[in-house]
Symmetry: C2
Subunit: 202 residues, 2 copies
């Protein structure tokens, strides 16, 4: 056999991405074999190489897409200038809420992006870390502005930014949709904790 009836490059590529996110987040990147991936997609291993030249480039594509989506998501959620929400406290609230919702909606790719950095070559690792640093810079600038306006009490902006990122990303480690708390309640809770953490009066 060769080309199968109804086969379509775009659909296959999307199916590969989905299956890869599922398998990598469950088994880990190194533990997932290309044969396993092909089998889950319903295709022969060789077909994968039409879409991704190597296993590592597949991982890189998934991670880059995740980070770019995250940055775009924040760009759209960020309060517009001149509004009341554009003050530091409003921006921080928007940042936390967007971050929580984005990650809860993308558990698989979040796991992949957070746990598989070691499998990237130095060059590709740097590109992902640059995107990450760009995103974290948004948080740092919010904290710096709040410190300047004396609405936040922060000892060290960089350290606080890392602490907040770790805390709010950690939600995907324990949160399960079937648990007692809803996504809204979780987001509200993290918002409150973040505001207390930076010493903002609510």
């Amino acid at each position: 056999m060769a080309r199968t009836t109804g086969s379509d490059g775009e659909k296959t590529e999307a199916a590969i991405r989905d299956a890869a996110l599922d398998l990598i987040s469950r088994l880990g990147f190194e533990a997932m074999s290309m044969r396993q991936l092909a089998s889950q997609v319903g295709v022969q291993p060789a077909a994968l190489y039409r879409y991704f030249p190597t296993k590592e480039e597949l991982l890189f594509a998934l991670m880059r897409e995740h980070m770019e989506n995250l940055i775009v998501s924040w760009g759209e959620a960020r309060p517009v200038e001149g509004t009341i929400e554009e003050k530091p406290a409003g921006r921080l609230a928007a940042f936390v809420e967007n971050h929580i919702r984005f990650h809860l909606a993308r558990r698989n790719s979040t796991h992949v992006s957070n746990l598989e950095l070691r499998s990237l070559s130095e060059k590709r690792l740097k590109r992902i870390l640059d995107l990450r640093s760009q995103y974290e810079g948004e948080l740092r600038s919010i904290l710096t502005d709040g410190q300047r306006d004396r609405v936040f009490q922060i000892d060290d902006v960089s350290l606080t930014a890392m602490a907040i990122i770790q805390m709010i990303t950690g939600v995907i480690v324990w949160f399960r949709p079937e648990l007692r708390l809803s996504e809204d309640e979780v987001a509200a809770n993290y918002h409150t904790m973040t505001m207390r953490l930076v010493g903002a009066v609510m």
Copy 2:
């Protein structure tokens, strides 16, 4: 050749553990081969199997030891009953300080214990998660007591416990000894943030 001059089982086992922690934390468990490990220890691959029956049991041993050490460490650092430090705020301060110092002193095994859970069989995974839950229970009980005494303002004890654990464990992701902040400063900073997070007045 066979047994080498000066060879000693205890030393070899310790060397295997050290090398494994180093390699796994750098490459990941699946990416580390037993041949690589043997080479770093300075021994033939077959020699590893005198100390650990399988690769997975080696990983399990490293993780269990890490968690048991963490629990022992907290047992020794925990304030004694009847002292002023035994109030919730003092216990929380001790918990955060011990946690930060313990993890900063054991970067490799922390990475292994946090990132490689997926490589454990169901049974062994459960044993590690039980130890983890036992440790987290200590934090939850501190938060519960502080809530009862009205010295902490906490919406949800479990959620807050997870948030704090994620935040303070995250220190090893970014902290490098050569950076501007000392271990003492970092610990003090996390202590302040934690107290603010639970709404304690300092």
